[in-house]
């Protein structure tokens, strides 16, 4: 592992050479690096003034995991102990082991996918095995020029997953990528690309609600999705990274005519987080973005959504929920753009914040750009407070302060939890409770 004060072309060249990449990818990286150097820090970047991100960027080739149990931060060790998971699973989730005990289960998931013609591969491998297919989409959905750290991502990307679902294929169960292919998703600059051909369906679950320890403290991943006509993609992320992490996640989908894209995004962990899933909607496309975040004391969590309505009668819905505790700060940033020609397009944005303590903060910055007179945008925001009376009530029914706060949080997020597969929902609740334990100062 080495620390880099400066990321230069020779480093990028080296990454590309080691990966044995085709020429176009090498050039894409170098162009992205130039952009990174040219672009200013995004002016929307709140809460990071005192940091020099560039200095925090580590580059490592493979091993981002802890190498021993002792190396894990005590709070993460404590979590695994309290969750009473089997030793194997514990080691796996904590990133100490690369193979999962119930690999057998996943072997036949892989077989099923293969039979359907679904491609599920580490990104690096896909670049080599399906260069034309990958090249058609890679970097074209989420452009490197979007902002400085998107450019950095493209210069340094490594890891991530490629998924391709052929025309008409409906994958009947959620694909939990973490258990299938976790190595690639544990990277610092992972790039995931999903392509759904016409009429295809996929529910992809990335991440895992157990806390994940990484050696790096800056994460800058990307997900691109291309959803062809009448196809349907649901993409769920529940992320619970260590409290040392600054997290960027660059997610964008293109939703072709009549297709549907759903981003469900949740963040428990990390220290500072900037996640705004986005969708470009063509005619009659549908998009739904549903996200939640929790900002505990000392944390800064930004979430939001960006919607670009291009086609007629396209519709989008955004539901954002944030919880702030202690002096935690939650920020919602939304952009809805109605292009000229997006006739009768409609977008509805709702944004709810829950403040648990007097010092807790929540800010919302919705932003609308309307060029099409027949398009409509509705926006609703609410802020609620945990009242002393609610606390007294719950405590008078036998819940201690932490349990009461966790229950309030669970209730506030109940509609997001309902979106998760049931077994995931159960884990989610436990993690939520764990999150609030000892949170009262």
């Amino acid at each position: 592992m080495r620390t880099l004060g400066k990321i230069d072309p020779s480093l990028v060249e080296e990454i590309s050479r080691k990966k044995g990449e085709p020429e176009w990818m090498r050039r894409l990286r170098l162009r992205a690096l130039e952009l990174f150097e040219k672009l200013p820090d995004p002016e929307w970047l709140g809460g990071l003034d005192e940091l020099n991100i560039e200095e925090m960027v580590l580059f490592e080739e493979v091993d981002v995991r802890a190498s021993s149990w002792d190396e894990l931060p005590p709070e993460i060790r404590k979590f695994y102990e309290e969750m009473k998971l089997p030793e194997m699973e514990k080691r796996y989730l904590a990133g100490l082991s690369t193979s999962f005990d119930s690999e057998m289960v996943y072997t036949h998931v892989k077989k099923y996918l293969e039979e359907k013609g679904v491609i599920l591969l580490p990104m690096e491998e896909a670049v080599k095995r399906y260069p034309d297919l990958v090249k058609r989409y890679f970097g074209r959905i989420f452009p490197p020029a979007e902002h400085k750290y998107a450019a950095l991502h493209y210069a340094l990307w490594s890891g991530g997953v490629f998924v391709y679902v052929p025309r008409g294929v409906k994958v009947e169960f959620p694909v939990e990528a973490f258990f299938l292919i976790s190595e690639e998703l544990l990277a610092q600059f992972e790039h995931t690309l999903i392509v759904l051909e016409e009429d295809a369906y996929l529910h992809f679950i990335e991440g895992c609600s157990s806390p994940q320890f990484r050696k790096f403290s800056f994460h800058d991943g990307a997900v691109e999705a291309y959803v062809h006509r009448n196809a349907h993609l649901k993409f769920t992320t529940v992320q619970n990274w260590g409290k040392n992490i600054i997290n960027f996640n660059n997610k964008r989908a293109i939703a072709e005519e009549g297709s549907t894209v759903e981003w469900v995004e949740g963040s428990f962990g990390s220290w500072k987080s900037y996640v705004y899933p986005s969708v470009i909607l063509r005619e009659k496309a549908r998009a739904r973005i549903s996200n939640f975040s929790i900002a505990h004391a000392g944390e800064w969590k930004e979430s939001g959504a960006k919607l670009f309505h291009v086609g007629k009668e396209s519709r989008s819905t955004v539901t954002a929920k944030s919880i702030s505790t202690g002096d935690g700060v939650s920020v919602f940033r939304g952009l809805v753009r109605m292009n000229r020609g997006a006739e009768r397009a409609f977008s509805s944005v709702s944004c709810d914040s829950l403040l648990m303590d007097p010092q807790s903060k929540a800010f919302t910055y919705p932003h609308n750009q309307i060029e099409e007179p027949s398009a409509r945008i509705s926006y609703e925001a609410s802020t609620s407070f945990l009242s002393e009376e609610q606390m007294f009530y719950l405590r008078s029914r036998g819940l201690d302060e932490d349990a009461a706060r966790a229950l309030i949080a669970t209730g506030f997020l109940s509609d997001v939890i309902a979106e998760l597969p049931p077994e995931y929902g159960a884990v989610f609740r436990r993690v939520l409770e764990y999150n609030f334990r000892g949170s009262v100062g």
Binding site: S384, S387, E388, E389, Q390, F392, Y393, R395, S396, R397, G398, L399, D400, L407, I408, T410, G411, F412, L413, S414, D415
Partner: protein, 230 residues
């Protein structure tokens, strides 16, 4: 009877010379009260006389400052215990105006606070709901959120009937409900007491006062309980 174990204390909730303040304003002035299982005591008095404050102080509302006196459960002081521990000692307060909770379903909440689970518990819950004139589907609704005043009262009583706590403080459980409901509530409260609970029935509903006229009635005024009222 003769050989009664000397170590067994009589189960009783006792309030001893309790003085309490809210924001430097004296709201309870040397209040005395005792409540034993199998007993209903009615507490009445004008608005602002301190009835709710008394119940909340017994439950452990930290916003009320106890200046003097003590609260004992079965001989042990609970004065310095947080509300959750008083609940575990058997005290239950039905709120005059319960707050609303988003996304917390009544049924799930009941399981959670009772520590019970499984079909038997759910069946029992539904049964109690029906007896209270509630549609069992109410268990799927959010706790007090979007419920009518009368429904809230009954959902509070539902919890008491399901938990069967030893000391039940019912703060105006009969206000804002129709005549039939007042009678039904009184009947269920008697059942609760027959089952071994003690009830402090705070009310100024004339019908309830009539129904419970054979029970001890305490009257509160200006933060004091007047002797021999009723």
């Amino acid at each position: 009877m003769f050989y009664k174990d000397v170590n067994t204390v009589n189960p009783v909730l006792e309030v001893k010379d309790l003085r309490a303040r809210i924001d430097d304003k004296e709201v309870l002035r040397r209040v005395k009260l005792s409540l034993s299982p199998g007993e209903i005591k009615v507490l009445t008095g004008p608005n602002g006389s301190g009835k709710s404050t008394l119940a909340r102080t017994i439950m452990g509302d930290e916003r009320i400052e106890v200046v003097e006196g003590d609260i004992l459960v079965d001989g042990e002081s609970v004065k310095d215990l947080p509300p959750e521990e008083r609940f575990r000692k058997g005290i239950f307060l039905s709120f005059q105006m319960p707050p609303e909770f988003e996304g917390i379903r009544i049924g799930e909440f009941l399981l959670r606070i009772s520590g019970r689970s499984g079909p038997e518990a759910i069946r029992e819950m539904k049964e109690i709901a029906k007896e209270l004139g509630l549609d069992p589907s109410i268990l799927m609704r959010e706790l007090h959120r979007g419920l009518s005043g009368g429904e809230r009262k009954r959902v509070e009583l539902l919890q008491a009937l399901f938990l069967k706590p030893k000391y039940v403080l019912l703060d105006e459980i009969d206000s804002g409900v129709d005549v039939e409901s007042v009678e039904l509530i009184a009947k269920k409260v008697k059942e609760l007491v027959d089952g071994g609970s003690a009830v402090l029935f705070i009310t100024h509903n004339p019908l309830s006062l009539k129904i419970f006229s054979d029970r001890p009635v305490l009257r509160m005024e200006g933060g004091r309980i007047l002797e021999n009222a009723g």
